[in-house]
Symmetry: C2
Subunit: 779 residues, 2 copies
């Protein structure tokens, strides 16, 4: 679609279509989880949406209600474009370099997944005929959290040229608007107020604060350069702009080379001198380390990552590329967040206001847990740091325990439509689930004591206030919203009930492991018993006649949706009212099917297939969160081709812009789903209470698949081909696993096990117009 070259370790784009620029800015975004920079051109324009983000930094905006209600949040948070340091403007003999003018003879951009840099080569002829080659490379450092750097080189190709370079720090950069879509952000105009500006020699710093939220942010830059001949430089700073100007004579065939180091710091509490000092220090260390070392540290960090997290795949080279691209962005989203969260778009765009939702814990954290556990831990540590807010929110809403926000940057609820926000209480169970999974995979006792137990306990407490026993002794959870946003405020959503049950059991388990600590949090034997009895009696509505579970109580009694009438009206939420969607059997995204995966231990194989078949026919995938889990369950129930299609749809969500909104940022959860589609789908990996099992089976188009993952503190490698699976222990103590139901012990010796044959079944059809995405041509 975009014409990316297929390459196992790179994403390279040779085209220059101005229409595509907003999309490529997201795809080429660099981030270390703390700083994010969209892949905009150094020269500043043409541009889609400028974007430099700092994790956790936000501006407030009022949430208006024509009819207000008790407990509605009055202000929301939104991510902002901070002082932009990636701008380096170029003048060639007085002509601003701008791809929209003159002629571009060559233009290549390459995201290198091993070097962790974005490279670019442009050969440009100015309107009056001067030719230059611009070569840039940039990184957002994994090893120096506060630092980004850009190497910018200009070569005079056909003449001696007068070249001027302007390297900017620009605050309150104008931002464009996307089409009106409730899912996109409303970015505030000019959110920054200048506190301080200074510059000297090659260096400048700007300090601002946000107007409403009052957060302080400092941005600094320092430079090195090599001039081929004479040149002059000066630096100036004023309010919203600091600029280094470098004017030089570049002889034909020679290069001017500039290295720009950009440092960021922000704080809710520290003073102007303090955040300035922080940025000065970061810049000083970057200058001391230097460009070459930054590059080599970056590569070395990624070497470690790929060693732990790479997924190798044969038979579909483009899919291999997409899988690595996905893992790279999952890493970028979480690598150095350090007690901050991961937004739905990571730090690649302003979509969804930069908020974090349940998909971070449910989809992204498991992937990080099995591959980069420290990053997973930091997200959970952030949730733990917001526990007081979650307890207050529960109390405000008449509940006890913790009630985490549906969408947030700072831990306060930002959802203004409560039926599809605050009512989706499963997010609290999802956070508990991610916590338990992390503890099972890592055996991280320190985190368990510091955060894990308290998180599990406070989450579990919520279910006792939200749920209750009915006259038949069933434990019900009424009036809530499950993952499927085309129903809301329902009773006994199976997904929510099963995840709550898991939370109750995990809380009981962690308290039994840590009785003294549990007592510190006021947990009594009686409370544990209360959790256990509710977990035992959880109500799972089931339709005996159809032989399927109800997504929520009475769901299968609802009117059928007219899929024929809606076949060209996707996504439905933009063409139908909630009033009609909620009343009918139409599913936006995997809900019961997600439960079949996450809580597969609660269903028989026969139930799984019947449920899958029933819900597959009515699931429209108007959310990017859906395809991977449908694919994982398709693989489990034996529809391997369908599973392959869903993996493809997931993996190419952003690369092929399937939802037509990649310009607003990447779908980080779909990136994580790509890994899960490989590992849980074709690897058949399941993790119930920390017991890791596999049931590998490849679809015809994939001839080989291998992946690595953490199991109870040990690391294993799983390599699958059409006939066999080889398991290897990479480090750590021996582990007990299962292969297609058979338990085995994995120690220093590889274990090779055969893949049992599959009885073929005819898969169910999707709603008309919602068949899985398929690439027109396999490469």
């Amino acid at each position: 679609m975009f014409g990316f070259e297929v390459d196992p370790w790179q994403l390279r784009w040779n085209e220059l279509d101005a229409e595509q620029i907003p999309r490529t800015e997201s795809l080429f975004a660099l981030s270390n989880g703390h700083i994010g920079m969209r892949g905009s051109l150094e020269e500043g324009e043409p541009i889609g949406e400028p974007g430099t983000y700092l994790n956790g930094l936000y501006e407030l905006r009022a949430l208006p209600y024509a009819e207000s209600g008790y407990g509605y949040p009055e202000s929301g948070q939104t991510i902002i474009n901070v002082t932009d340091g990636k701008i380096i403007r170029l003048l060639v003999e007085d002509e601003p370099m701008d791809l929209r003018y003159g002629r571009t003879l060559e233009h290549t951009r390459t995201l290198d997944l091993r070097s962790g840099t974005l490279r670019r080569t442009t050969v440009w002829e100015s309107p009056v005929g001067h030719k230059v080659r611009i070569s840039t490379e940039r990184l957002v450092s994994f090893t120096n959290r506060a630092i980004a750097a850009i190497k910018y080189e200009v070569e005079a190709l056909d003449d001696n040229l007068k070249i001027v370079i302007q390297s900017d720090l620009l605050a309150n950069e104008p931002i464009g608007k996307f089409a009106k879509d409730p899912r996109l952000a409303e970015m505030p105009e000019a959110p920054l107020v200048n506190d301080f500006a200074t510059s000297r020699n090659r260096w400048a710093v700007l300090v601002h604060h946000t107007k409403m939220s009052g957060l302080r942010v400092a941005a600094g830059m320092d430079h090195e350069w090599e001039l081929p001949s004479t040149g002059e430089s000066f630096v100036r700073s004023e309010g919203d702009l600091a600029r280094l100007t470098l004017a030089a004579h570049v002889p034909q065939g020679r290069k001017l080379s500039l290295t720009k180091y950009i440092g960021y710091g922000w704080s809710a509490r520290r003073s102007v001198p303090a955040v300035r000092a922080q940025v000065d220090a970061a810049l000083a260390m970057a200058m001391e380390v230097g460009w070459d070392t930054l590059l080599s540290e970056q590569r070395s960090y990624l070497d470690d990552f790929w060693r732990d997290a790479d997924v190798e795949l044969e038979g579909d080279a483009e899919l291999q590329q997409a899988v690595r691209f996905a893992m790279f962005h999952v890493l970028q989203a979480g690598a150095r967040g350090e007690a901050r969260s991961i937004g739905a778009k990571g730090l690649t765009g302003s979509g969804y206001d930069g908020h974090t939702f349940w998909d971070t814990e449910t989809f992204v954290l498991p992937v990080l847990t099995y591959t980069s556990p420290a990053a997973a831990r930091e997200v959970l540590r952030w949730r733990h740091s917001t526990l007081d807010k979650a307890r207050n929110r529960a109390s405000e809403l008449g509940q006890f325990g913790a009630m985490f926000p549906w969408r947030s940057i700072n831990g306060d609820e930002c959802s203004s439509y409560w039926p599809a926000g605050t009512a989706a209480v499963h997010i609290t169970a999802d956070i508990a689930h991610a916590t338990a999974k992390y503890l099972n995979a890592t055996h991280d006792k320190e985190f368990e004591a510091e955060c894990g137990l308290e998180l599990l306990v406070e989450c579990a407490r919520l279910w006792l206030s939200v749920g209750h026993f009915d006259g038949n002794g069933r434990f019900r959870i009424d009036g809530i919203t499950g993952p499927d946003e085309y129903t809301a405020v329902v009773n006994n959503n199976v997904y929510t009930n099963l995840m709550a049950e898991q939370n109750l059991r995990d809380a009981a388990a962690v308290c039994s492991r840590n009785p003294d600590l549990a007592r510190e949090f006021g947990v009594t034997v009686e409370e544990i018993a209360d959790w256990e009895i509710r977990a035992e009696r959880i109500f799972l509505p089931y339709n005996e006649t159809l032989g399927v579970h109800e997504q929520s109580e009475e769901f299968t009694q609802l009117k059928e949706w007219d899929f024929e009438a809606s076949k060209d009206k996707y996504p439905l939420l933009l063409n139908y009212p909630y009033f009609d969607l909620y009343r009918k059997q139409v599913v936006k995204q995997a809900d019961l099917v997600l439960a079949l995966y996450l809580r597969g231990d609660a269903f028989t194989p026969e139930e799984k297939r019947r449920n899958f078949d029933y819900y597959e026919r009515i699931t429209v995938r108007d959310s990017s969160l859906s395809a991977w889990s449908q694919g994982v369950m398709a693989a489990e129930v034996g529809y391997l081709d369908l599973a392959y299609d869903y993996l493809v749809e997931t993996a190419f969500t952003d690369l092929h812009d399937i939802h037509n909104n990649v310009a607003a940022g990447l779908h980080i959860a779909a990136m994580a789903g790509t890994w899960l589609g490989c590992v849980a789908g074709f690897g058949g990996m399941r993790d119930y209470d920390g017991n890791i099992t596999f049931a590998p089976r490849l679809p015809p188009r994939i001839t080989y698949l291998s992946f690595r993952m953490l199991v109870g503190g040990s690391k294993i490698l799983v390599a699958i081909d059409g006939d066999n699976t080889i398991y290897r222990l990479l480090f750590g103590p021996p582990v007990t696993l299962k292969h297609h139901g058979e338990e085995f012990e994995l120690d220093g010796h590889p274990v090779t096990l055969p893949i049992p044959p599959l009885t073929p079944h005819e898969p169910p059809a999707q709603p008309i117009g919602r068949e899985p995405y398929r690439r027109s041509e396999l490469r």
Copy 2:
């Protein structure tokens, strides 16, 4: 509470407490259903909320959404204070007459329910000691729809005085703000733009249009006066103000008397000259008729009304007063609406933005139907005139037939919180119900042909699109909201299902009566059969274990509300989130219990009592719409004291300001409920399919009750005492009635029937803190 004098035909208030002024403005409001004027003091200040309203005239305002959705209305309508013509300012020797200064020696205001006027006498001593007596009387004419008039007299009590009177027309009058409450209106500031102003001699006209909605409104005034001595007068007009000034010497003991005639006209389509001409003509006729004739016509109109509608009651004089006060305001709300609706507040205040809701059709129209059927017909005619909007709304929301707005002035939906707005589809059944009731009571064939059949048919069609048959052949209506707003978006609300069933049957019946006309609206035999089969198979969820109906499916499975914890937190909606309210067994207002009354034919007596007992314990009456129907059902199941208490609560809703918001306007539906509490409660009147039955039985405190009502085109009088009921036919052909289950024919001879004894039962308790309102002392 307010210290009104108890009088059978007047509401008189002798106090002057500035705090009470906003409340009395609503209670003393005059209206003919076309023009409404709050009971503010002529001198303009002190004031709560100025208010002169024209039925149907509104301004638009944007409805904001932090998260928007398909089909959400983008603009709302709101009633506005139009050019105020009731201001007559007085200067006594240069001192503006203002009750907040000087001394008020006497101050009496009297709403006279037989003359249809508001009278006032004030004896005021100015700060420098000049004494005057001011006597005023005003009316909004029932017989001259476009006219209001005020007689204003000043008597010099202790000296010869220089008196100046300024009689104003004032547009864009400043308005105060009430406390923040989602149920109150947000009135636009200065909504009017001047088009034209003119004046001559004693006469002036101002023409304006509304800024956003572009509606044109003209206000005019003309005057007559009698001077006791010399005087001077002039009139001026400019933009937003026209003023007649009258300066006179008033000798001690003499009076200056001014009569002001005020005319109004508005139009969405007519030009400035046209609406001006309309007002000029109305004023000319008013001057021609003169004050005394206006007064006598007003009294004569009311004599007719009381002859048809009076309810007499012995044993509780204050209740007698309250019942007549209620009937007077019900009449005022609807008398001359003429193809306009009746807002929840009538034309007495700006609460609820002046919108009309379901309670107009469900509570107000039956009362008008039985007593002033022409007024009921006009409201239904208005609904009929908005059918195209209702069909378009249905289509926008993916339905067919008509889908009437939850709240509106002009027929377009103004509800911005759809779960308690658009989802409350019962309003469409309620409109159908009111239509059928009107047709049954009046046998108005002309209306049936012009509007009634089409209304019933288009409403019935909605149920085929909103409902469906489930696997068990039950006709379900899912994902809607019933009358109780503490649950929303539920399945199979019994009230909604029964009202829809009635609509389906009534549509089938009216089409059978008018086969040719039905064909014109595309009704086929098959369609009628479709309606009938759905009516037969309507699903009414029932809990076998408890032996009660479910308010909506699974309602009795929900968690119990903790009434002890909420006992001082009423109304709950201001202290608890919908999230918590919706999930629990707590009922804002009669829902199933209302169905027990309106569709009592669908329940056995035993079911009624069990249902009443169950829901009584969990109904908190956070709505003024609830008490009367609880009282009516309490009477039916045999709790006569409780029924009395609920009638009292209903009747004093506004007189005692029980909901603490009478300042924003009267609760017209509670006024109507007062009549229903007498007639359906203690008269036991039921109307199923036009078959009128009675089961009279008085509570101990009421010794005698009589009422009049229309039955199938005839008029009857029912008079009840402790032992017997006397039925009389007042006019029209003989009618067949039932008395406590026994059928009898009523012709020219009165029929006296004994009241069977009642087996006493212990009534259920209400939630703590929500016992019925009881007056501290009976007068």
